[in-house]
Amino acid sequence: MDALRELAKNSVLGNPIRLGIMLYLLPREKALFRDILEVLEITPGNLDSHLKALEKAGYVKIYKVFADRPRTAVKITERGAEETGKYLRMLKSILSDAL
């Protein structure tokens, strides 16, 4: 029950698209905006709003890089990695209890 309560508290990662972004970023040094867009198959506006929510929570850092032309890049922060790991473990424990 505690895990379920903790899980409900995390409104940032409760969204599947945001969780997907975090899982995509976790094993990578950085990712380009267009790459995330391609993987998740969502609109640029939608991705932008989710990235802003993740940045506001301190889970990702958005910055500019030069790759053939100026591009938006995203990288996961240590806090983001910690919270994603915690969230996954909580989710797994809840699912294990439910089975």
Partner: protein
């Protein structure tokens, strides 16, 4: 109930892929040094320019820093996500062991050991690798897979002390054996995680 099972299955697959990614990243560091050592033996027979050894190993160390830095950034996030404690300044967990390895392997041993110069060099090299990698293992990774990388060079010191000729080359091959075993073990772990 089927949906719950499916979701749990997806989560386990995600977890496995993250474990596999961590193992592959960790193997890259050792694979880089295996390549650098092998290439040195190959080109030293073909190219024989003055100062080549210094230029080659300076370039290799610089390349090693770049590879380790890029691997380290990725590994730290995976370690943090898996719940390992790495602290607020994880780079010290690399700086401390490697500095200790340099001081003991390249300074204390050559100064204090009474042996032929080739034996001193071989013992120094093996100590440097064994101490540095053991420190890195104890302070940061704690992966079973990286144990051969420092254990084999540490055990090789005993053999080197009894040798009269070819100690440097033999020490190089002992290190390469340890590193190869570590790379194989990491890749084996990665495949096991994916197939789980």
């Amino acid at each position: 109930m089927e949906e719950v099972k499916e979701l749990k299955n997806i989560l386990e697959r995600v977890e496995s892929k993250l474990i596999a990614a961590g193992s592959i990243y960790a193997a890259i560091n050792f694979a880089y040094w295996l390549f650098v050592m092998s290439l040195f033996y190959v080109i030293s027979e073909v190219v024989n320019l003055p100062g080549m050894v210094i230029v080659y190993w300076s370039g290799a160390i610089l390349g090693g820093f770049i590879v380790a830095g890029r691997v380290f950034k990725r590994l730290i996030n995976l370690y943090i996500a898996s719940g390992r404690k790495v602290g607020s300044f994880p780079i010290w967990r690399l700086i401390v062991p490697w500095s200790t390895g340099v001081i003991i392997g390249w300074w204390v041993i050559p100064v204090t050991l009474k042996a032929a110069p080739d034996v001193k060099f071989a013992v120094g090299l093996l100590s440097f690798i064994a101490i540095s990698l053991f420190g890195q293992w104890a302070l940061l990774t704690k992966d079973m897979e990286s144990i051969p990388a420092f254990l084999i060079p540490a055990l090789a010191i005993i053999v080197v002390l009894t040798m009269n000729t070819g100690t440097s080359s033999w020490a190089g091959f002992a290190i390469a054996t340890g590193f190869s075993l570590t790379v194989l073990w990491y890749l084996h772990s990665a495949f096991r995680a994916i197939e789980r």
